[in-house]
Amino acid sequence: MAAVSTRRLQKELADIKNHGTPTGITLLKADDFETWYLTLEVLGESLYKGEVFALKFRFEPGYPISSPAVQFVVDDKFRAPLHPHVYSNGHICASILGTEWSPVLSVISVCITLQSMLASCKDKKRPPDNDRYVAHAPENPKKTQFVYHDDEV
């Protein structure tokens, strides 16, 4: 029996196919209902002009009750954006991916939120505890209990 997540993700996928994605966001790969890849670009004037990032979404069978595990792809093609809430291994410290997650959110709405998080950035730098975190970080960012520093950035 298909998990709840499958039916919901089928809907989201159909929605993307029918209505397209918002500007700056493209669906890179969604071959199954466990892992999706999307690219993210900040359009207009921003510190990230011309940079393209990739996001990896991992879904549990409990999605959307349980939040997706979202991180920036770090491989030979993509880098994690230099941002005070993004660690160099691609993990993101954003409350909507943790305690503020709500099933009303979707893959696209998470992308849009992260896009605006990048767009509003004023200082391109890593989180202060980047090295310490990356050295001990679990593979899945959902296993980290982030402390959300501030809601503004």
């Binding site: 009750i65 305690t99 997650w101 099933p103």
Partner: protein
């Protein structure tokens, strides 16, 4: 003037669940019908079952709990209706009080350990052990076997006593059951009296008058109450049997199936976390459709419960018979969250055992004043008047060397049997405080488990009867809603009436 017509969720042409994104058209309702709710002030609607699953899942995690009952869009607070009888509310607040005191115990414990580390963990543990013995055996036996003066203590006291708090705490874990406390207690049941000044004087005085006292140091084999050694040997069996039947009762009450719980995979230390205030159960609250239970809703959490050892609820994954060991939700179910409160309740509860048993014992004693039968059963004796005989006198008078090896062996076995079945005379002659304390502790455990079960049951009922209150679309510009009957037609209809 007719009431202005306000559409509700049932007037929508297409309902779209904001959680699962399933649609339902008004002209093709599913069979059986699924309940929909519009719980807030904006246009979001949802399946009631989806929303309840989300609420329960979010409430089980203290960091997400604040968002559990809020609309993610308009922020309106959902109104839950459920059976929440007074006993459940009382039990919930009791639970909260216990958790709060658990936190205090944790902090106090941390401070104590920190302060006393190099100096005297040993001393503190030992004096706790002595305190526990006094509480459990009663002052009379305590004075004979141990006394307040550590210089009289037998050598094994210095090993035995500090292990008592440790083993009390361990005895509450599943790993060791009641095992470690038994050998510790056994040491005391065969222990001779300590040579305090009074006993020594008494003995010398008596000896000078009547000659050496060579009365047999063991109690008769058959007597009531059973010898402490018998009780301690039988204790693990009784407790195992009890647990098994309690578990059955629990499964029966909760409607769960008994099956082996998968081993705990990981332990989360979240000491500064408050822990959710509710008791979380993953009972069979099965939706009508075949939706598998989701993520956190069936989380078995230790801390709301306080009692680690007996939680029979299975997670949904197991109910469905689909073991998904890799599924994080299933893994989460096997996660014990150790919070400051749960740790404190755990340790504090363990260290309270001697105090509780002594209290229950004295309660039984009070009750026994009104019942001869109970008095007989408890074998209450007046305080001893005769001075204690040091056991060694009898041994001094026996000439073991005259016996052959076989004879020595035989005497040894007889003595051992006597100790096991009858116990030492010290125990037999004293008021068996330990006996009524053990019975009292047993009664306490049974009562506690029953209250616990009642709490679980009421909580289960509360969750089962939950309904999210549906609101009308008042306040929403409902000309924008896709209604079965457009508002203009409604207005016309109202006018023509």
């Amino acid at each position: 003037m007719p009431e202005p017509w306000v559409p509700t969720v049932d007037d929508l042409r297409v309902k779209l669940c904001y959680i699962c994104r399933e649609e339902e058209r008004h002209d093709s309702p599913p069979n059986p019908p699924v309940a929909w709710v519009h719980p807030c002030n904006c246009t979001l609607v949802a399946h009631e079952s989806c929303l309840l699953t989300w609420i329960q899942s979010a409430q089980s995690d203290s960091s997400r709990a604040p968002n559990a009952l809020k609309c993610p869009q308009c922020g309106a607070v959902y109104e839950l209706e459920s059976e929440n009888p007074l006993p459940l509310r009382i039990l919930n607040s009791l639970n909260a009080v216990l958790s709060a005191s658990g936190r205090v115990v944790s902090i106090a414990g941390l401070v104590t350990v920190g302060v006393s580390f190099g100096l005297g963990v040993y001393v503190i543990f030992t004096s706790y052990g002595a305190y526990a013995i006094q509480e459990f055996l009663g002052k009379e036996l305590f004075d004979i076997l141990l006394s307040d003066d550590p210089s009289n203590w037998p050598w094994h006291a210095y090993l035995n006593l500090p292990l008592i708090p440790v083993s009390l705490i361990l005895s509450r874990t599943n790993l060791l059951d009641m095992f470690p406390i038994v050998p510790l207690f056994l040491a005391w049941t065969s222990s001779p009296a300590v040579p305090t000044t009074t006993t020594a004087l008494n003995a010398n005085f008596r000896r000078s008058i009547r000659g050496p006292d060579d009365s047999y140091p063991f109690a008769p084999v058959i007597h009531w109450p059973p010898s402490p050694i018998m009780v301690t040997i039988l204790f693990p069996y009784v407790s195992t049997l009890y647990r098994r039947y309690m578990m059955r009762l629990r499964h029966w009450v909760m409607g769960t199936q008994s099956r082996n719980r998968p081993p705990v995979r990981r332990i989360v230390w979240a000491l500064n976390e408050d822990g959710p205030l509710r008791v979380h159960i993953g009972a069979n609250i099965q939706d009508d459709d075949n939706v598998p239970r989701r993520g956190g809703d069936a989380q078995q959490q230790q801390q709301g419960q306080g009692e680690g050892q007996q939680q029979p609820q299975e997670g949904g994954q197991e109910q469905q018979g689909e073991a998904e060991p890799q599924d994080p939700a299933a893994v989460a179910e096997r996660t014990i969250r150790v919070t400051g409160a749960s740790l404190g309740r755990y340790i504090g509860g363990a260290l309270m055992i001697p105090r509780i048993s002594s209290f229950m014992g004295s309660l039984l004693l009070k009750l026994s004043r009104h019942s001869v039968l109970l008095r007989k059963f408890l074998a209450v004796r007046p305080p001893r008047t005769a001075p204690v005989e040091p056991v060694s006198r009898w041994f001094e008078n026996q000439d073991f060397t005259k016996l052959g090896y076989l004879g020595q062996l035989g005497t040894g076995i007889t003595l051992a049997l006597q100790v096991v079945c009858g116990g030492t005379k010290i125990f037999a002659d004293s008021d068996p405080v330990w006996w009524r304390n053990s019975l009292g502790l047993g009664l306490f455990v049974v009562a506690k488990d029953c209250i616990n079960l009642l709490h679980l049951y009421l909580t289960k009922r509360e969750i089962e009867t939950r309904r999210v209150k549906s609101r009308s679309f008042a306040g929403v510009d409902y000309r924008e809603l896709d209604l079965i009957t457009p508002p203009s037609a409604q207005a016309e209809g109202a006018e023509t009436q």
